[in-house]
Symmetry: C2
Subunit: 149 residues, 2 copies
């Protein structure tokens, strides 16, 4: 677990209690798993990892915790392999995701200059732009190596 993860967990727990939620053991476990992951995870994957730590945790708790974290914008929903139930730790400020199509390893990159164009594009179609979704996909370093092997 890197510095960033630790940083996230503290922040997440603060956010959670600030919004009236309780910090329970199952939640702490789920938080840690998501924060430590280098790739987006499905509810089931989170559940499996969580069970290794707390065998009697319920899948339902995963769903409910994920829902809460998403509501607080602490995690993001990611498009990956036709799934959109996978989640990844949220962006800090204005960033977008870069996902490896092979292994799922993900990284954030900063917003583009281009985003300024979005309003203009919207206008030309009569839309008032309120948001955008941008995600790049490709092969991470590891998976590029495997390709050539």
């Amino acid at each position: 677990m890197d510095k960033q993860s630790i940083w996230s967990i503290d922040k997440w727990e603060n956010e959670l209690s600030r919004s009236g939620c309780r910090i329970t053991r199952p939640r702490r476990v789920i938080l840690n798993i998501i924060a430590a992951s280098s790739r987006p995870l499905t509810p089931m994957e989170i559940f499996d990892q969580a069970r290794a730590v707390t065998p009697n945790i319920g899948l339902v708790t995963v769903y409910r915790t994920v829902e809460k974290l998403e509501g607080l914008k602490l995690i993001d929903r990611v498009h990956h392999l036709g799934q959109c139930q996978t989640v990844f730790r949220g962006t800090r400020g204005h960033q977008h995701l870069l996902v490896c199509t092979e292994c799922g390893r993900s990284a954030y990159f900063d917003g583009l200059e281009a985003e300024k164009q979005f309003t203009t594009i919207g206008n030309s179609h009569g839309y008032k732009i309120t948001g955008h979704w941008l995600q790049l996909s490709g092969l991470c370093q590891e998976c590029q190596k495997k390709e050539t092997t």
Copy 2:
């Protein structure tokens, strides 16, 4: 149904038969519904509309037809309201989608200059970019009017 839709349907039927598929009545109905829609539709929505025309059509046929159309890239999967099973007629050339968060009305816009940056962004993280997903959301003209009402 506008010109664009008619144009799509002819093209779609050509593509379908060219890939060894048969043009059947249920398929024609589904094709027409998707081509004529100004917003992304879920399998169930397509089914409901189709039933109005062919009461004994099966939901299964919708799933199977959608799968086929998607495989031929004639329709695109769209992110809308947490769903990613909704589909919309495909892009022509290099375009991206603009979706109304209220009513779903959608339009395509041309690719951005900015896309040239994507490769560079990828490189700086060690990724080899193979694709990107960009979708804008906002309020369409109709829904902006309703807001002020």
